[in-house]
Assembly symmetry: C3
């Protein structure tokens, strides 16, 4: 999902990332470090991830072996976590089809705001686990959305970050999920491709509007296009029938005793899986892993958001089936990720704001689902988009809630680094300003001294002129001329005021001849 639709940053990241990996770290060593990590990423990287941005390489040479190992390990982690800048840079020199594959994988992960091809690969694995046909549709959607963006000559950096693919995967997936024609109905690929190729157009149009408020487009293009397709065809269409969604006119009587606590806990990963329309808890679990690889903060907020959605469902007395099915979770997952560290720099206040946003999103989700069902439509991710946009539009007078400029958004850990750097810079600027003010005073004093010196020279000159006229002593003349030159030199940098005075001096001189 849209880290940003600005890519100045993306390109810069790619460029400046060149300095991070040391040439001495051969790919072989990295690989040996990587392999165990990939096997148990949740065990080893848990504690180290937050520090991975620190530049340990610049430290003095006399370090212990432990420190060295640690540094090497962090460097290894940095190769496949975050947004995988190094890999992205390396990809730039590869064959175009490989590049497109990279973009498609990143696009798949961008639904969760993750710009990471490894996460994308894992997500595709999760989708295949769920349903082959859906996964195929998702892949086709991402591919054609990316191709369409290339044809429309959208920003190459944004395409490379997967920002034109994530709506495509959702369009492809959800059109397959909500199709009533059964799996492997190949004609579905036609509207799938058409709608995927419309994604960059709608994205670009929405970005033109949202950029006025420095807001991302989120999954709005997906919401618009899938709803468009579903309502344009409908349940009774002969070519592209949709599943029947009807408004609920009555709620079943429910009692708290009927709650299945295991299923309730299961609803947390299911809620994360429902972001891609998947109800398999294992798929949801795989998605959690893919999030963790890129950014632990994102992962934590995803789980938190899903839990908040589940609680909200209980509070608003939703049917338990909906809660178990993850329908109360997926919007909250996205909203909680977006607010909690992605577009705001993570502080405690922002963390609370993210939880509030998740609750609001759950409420909104129920409302939108009820309204959309009147038209035979699912809620899609409208609730997430609307609630996150609302919370991103807030203005407050506190500096604890800092909205990152859209062009600087990457992933929560790096955003936090940016925020801290900015804060430090501000502090330094403040200190510098104070110092400058002092210097200014110092300089003013010095200038005064120079001015008075100049004045003395002028007086001297005048005295000499007078002397010259009366005594006609030729020896003094050279000195006098030199002094005069000196004065005039100074005047060249002086103000008009001075020039005028000099003219007068001159005339006086001429007068005295």
């Amino acid at each position: 999902m849209p880290g940003s639709h600005c890519t100045k940053d993306i390109q810069k990241n790619i460029n400046c990332s060149a300095s991070a990996p040391l040439p001495s770290n051969s790919p072989a060593t990295t690989l040996t470090e990587l392999q165990p990590l990939m096997a148990h990423p949740d065990l080893q990287s848990e504690n180290d991830k937050p520090q991975m941005d620190k530049k340990d390489s610049a430290q003095p040479a006399g370090r212990t072996n432990l420190q060295k190992a640690r540094a090497r390990f962090l460097k290894g982690v940095s190769y496949f976590s975050g947004d995988m800048e190094v890999f992205g840079k390396w990809m730039q020199k590869q064959f175009i089809l490989l590049q497109i594959l990279d973009w498609v994988l990143r696009g798949a992960a961008q639904v969760m705001f993750v710009n990471n091809p490894l996460s994308g690969l894992i997500i595709f694995a999760g989708l295949i686990l769920q349903n082959y046909w859906w996964a195929l549709n998702g892949f086709v959607g991402t591919l054609f959305a990316t191709i369409s963006a290339l044809i429309l000559q959208q920003n190459r950096g944004a395409i490379a970050a997967g920002l034109y693919g994530y709506n495509g995967i959702l369009v492809g997936l959800l059109m397959a999920v909500f199709s009533n024609a059964g799996d492997w109905y190949w004609w579905l690929l036609l509207p799938n491709i058409f709608m995927s190729m419309m994604c960059p157009i709608v994205s670009s149009a929405l970005a033109s509007i949202n950029s006025r408020w420095d807001l991302p487009v989120f999954t709005l293009p997906f919401n618009i296009l899938v709803c468009l397709h579903m309502v344009a065809t409908g349940h009774y269409n002969h070519h592209f029938p949709q599943v029947l969604i009807q408004p609920r006119s009555e709620l079943p009587n429910i009692t708290w005793a009927e709650i299945d606590v295991a299923k309730l806990f299961m609803s947390v990963p299911v809620g994360i899986g429902q972001v891609y329309g998947c109800d398999n808890p294992w798929t949801g679990g795989i998605f959690i892993i893919s999030l963790f690889i890129s950014s632990p903060i994102t992962c934590a907020h995803a789980v938190l958001g899903s839990a908040v959605g589940m609680v909200s469902g209980l509070a608003l007395s939703a049917p338990f089936g909906d809660i178990y099915f993850g329908l109360w979770g997926y919007n909250c997952v996205l909203a909680c990720i977006a607010i909690g560290g992605m577009f705001y720099a993570l502080t405690w206040q922002v963390h609370l704001l993210a939880i509030t946003c998740a609750f609001f999103c759950a409420y909104l989700g129920s409302a939108i689902a009820n309204i959309m069902s009147r038209f035979g439509l699912p809620a899609c991710t409208w609730p997430f988009c609307l609630s996150a946009l609302t919370f991103l539009l807030i203005t407050t007078e506190t500096n604890k809630i800092f909205k990152l400029p859209l062009a600087k958004v990457t992933y929560p850990e790096k955003n936090l680094g940016f925020f801290w750097k900015l804060k430090k810079q501000e502090k330094m600027e403040k200190a510098e300003k104070e110092k400058e003010e002092k210097d200014e005073q110092q300089r003013a004093i010095e200038e005064e001294v120079i001015l008075s010196e100049k004045e003395q020279l002028r007086l001297e000159l005048e005295r000499m002129e007078e002397g010259k006229v009366t005594s006609e002593a030729s020896e003094g003349k050279n000195d006098e001329t030199q002094i005069k030159d000196h004065v005039l030199d100074m005047e060249q940098q002086g103000t008009e005021e001075e020039t005028r005075q000099n003219n007068l001096t001159e005339v006086t001189v001429a007068d005295n001849v």
Copy 2:
């Protein structure tokens, strides 16, 4: 309702209001003047209100007793009419709980664009007359909306003006009004508090958008949040059931003979009461009084708007029951107040525009009510918001329709004063400009004279030079130098071109010496 979400003005008002009350006017005297007024505000202040903005204090001392009494009376009126700046300023030094009470009362009145705690108090009285439980919910809503704004560190001036409270009171009231769980269902306070606390968030977000067009947010946050709550829960919800609202599929046959004229007239105050969801005509009457205290123009437009709504209902053959119940009035009331003097400076053209807006609002109200009823929702104040925003977005080439900058909006009488001041200033500026142009011409003539003088001097100089060369008479030299000085003086103001030419002249002179 949102006089503005800008508070530069509010703070300025508070600051500059310090000069208005004379220190000689002790609180005691003020009080004695106030008491009779509060008893019969509609009798005494009717004629005097419009003049209350005039600064009588600056008039010459030799006034009759009548004039003095009148001035004192106006000053007395100014203490509790308008936006009660003096009281607001005095409040700033009080205990925070007292301040919050002031803000809550102002918030209650701001629904009608009135920034006046006294009006707010009267409105709460009206609400209590209608229903205790509703009044309590309204109070809780206003209180928590204000507290939430404080937590979110919104602008203190806007909070103090009640601009974060008015959505809260509406949310609280209408959630109680539309709840199907009966009065004193205490659980309702939970969503009430949550939604009230969401008000400042939604307000802030909407203000970010609307401020681009210098528009207020009106009651949009209330509309969004109450609709959200109602559609998220619905009629069949087990925890928070809503009243059942269904679309009308058929209209009863009505004949003009069946009209109850008394009820029709009654519908005017009822329409004003329906702004707060109250159908008691006495409550509506109390609201009219509270409006009159603060601003007679607002009061007049409120009554006018309600009447226009009633007429529109008859024109569109609405069921009489709806008209009697004030459902056709309350949006028109708000729209008519907003356009008629609140956000536009009141002129005859604006007055006509306000009436047009009220008619449009009634039409829109019928349309929106029909659409919303499909979702089981009431029309809330969507019609007012949309019609008023439309009419505030108009641009014309006439200066008779002057939209006040949002930061300058206070109450109709003061807005008018601002408009007149601006017009006078413009006139003065125009006159000054004309004068300046004249001066400019004068100066141009003078400059020409100087230039010709200069030219003469130069010619004289040249002539002298010639004479000097032939006669070698040294007495002329001094004169010559004087002339040269003069020339150089002039050059100081001259262009470079002239300077260069003069320099050349000089050199020639020097050359010839």
Copy 3:
């Protein structure tokens, strides 16, 4: 429809059009040329239209008779094709009622983005052919919308271009079309006039918003106001009943064998007729002619759009009846015209974009029709407005898709001319810049030479000073000093150029001493 809501261009066009017609071309000759053309516009002007913008008058005198005749013919065509600037200019001096008639006719044609009273006249002829009562309502709507714009003191140029009338004609027509009260129900004129007079208000308000993105308002005011009227009254209203529109819950079984190919082809002109709510194919044909007169590009895209809509209907398995009735065509017609040459300069890329937009519009049309039918509403031209706005908001990095500034939009042929001129200008500027850079280098070299010369002179001067000291010639000294001062003075204020010249003079002087 809104060529633009900016009229700087309109007025400029009118002004600069004065030079186009030669005074030698007497109105009489023009008329004789015009008459046959008006009879067979599709035969004669087909090949010549695209070249009509070329300025043949500037060619050398020795042309053959054929060339002369051709030039004269083109001039003749230019009198009534395009936006009829000459006529518009002539109209400005006529009686106000005649002017209003001109504006009303232009307004009628502006629905199709054509600013041409002749087209408007033909369109009214088509409407009369369809239904007298509808034509009358359309005329009343256009008239009152224009009058309302005059009362509201909207921009006179925009009014004269018919930009305030086209929503009026649609409001008037469609209110009559969708009224269930039968023809000649005179009371309908009341809401007709009210809604028509609201058009400029809604137009102005929407323009305030859309102008931020340099977008036109299209037919949004019409959509809003007609939907407003229909949903506010509804099918069961006693005063203004609307036709019953109900959502389709089931689609009839259709087989490809049942297609009536003749009717399918007929649906193309019917689709164009449906822009004005007319289902008569002859009316559609007349509309095609009216488009062709003004702009062949517009005409071609209109036909193309209608065909695309028909194909889309088949692809989405719409009921054949809807397709024959033109309901799939009219939005695509408008969208294809708007994108294909009207708001973008026509290139092959833009042509493809226009076709894509037409397909998207058809899809959207089906979706919106399904949603609106739930509220008893027709789709109006919402699909066109939304799809065209989306496609106008796209930003790409290619210069082949050039969106014209709204103030420069006239008609496709002229837009293309503007685009070519801009491109040529850019090329010339680029060439000039390159030339300038070369010159800059040349000058830098020259300056260096001069500087070194100057340096030499200065050195020479210094040498002279030294000589002076040794010879003790006191008479020359003062002069010399003066000269030196003078030189330095000049340098301070002068440009290098001047300094150079002065130095030369000076030195010569000094040299001669």
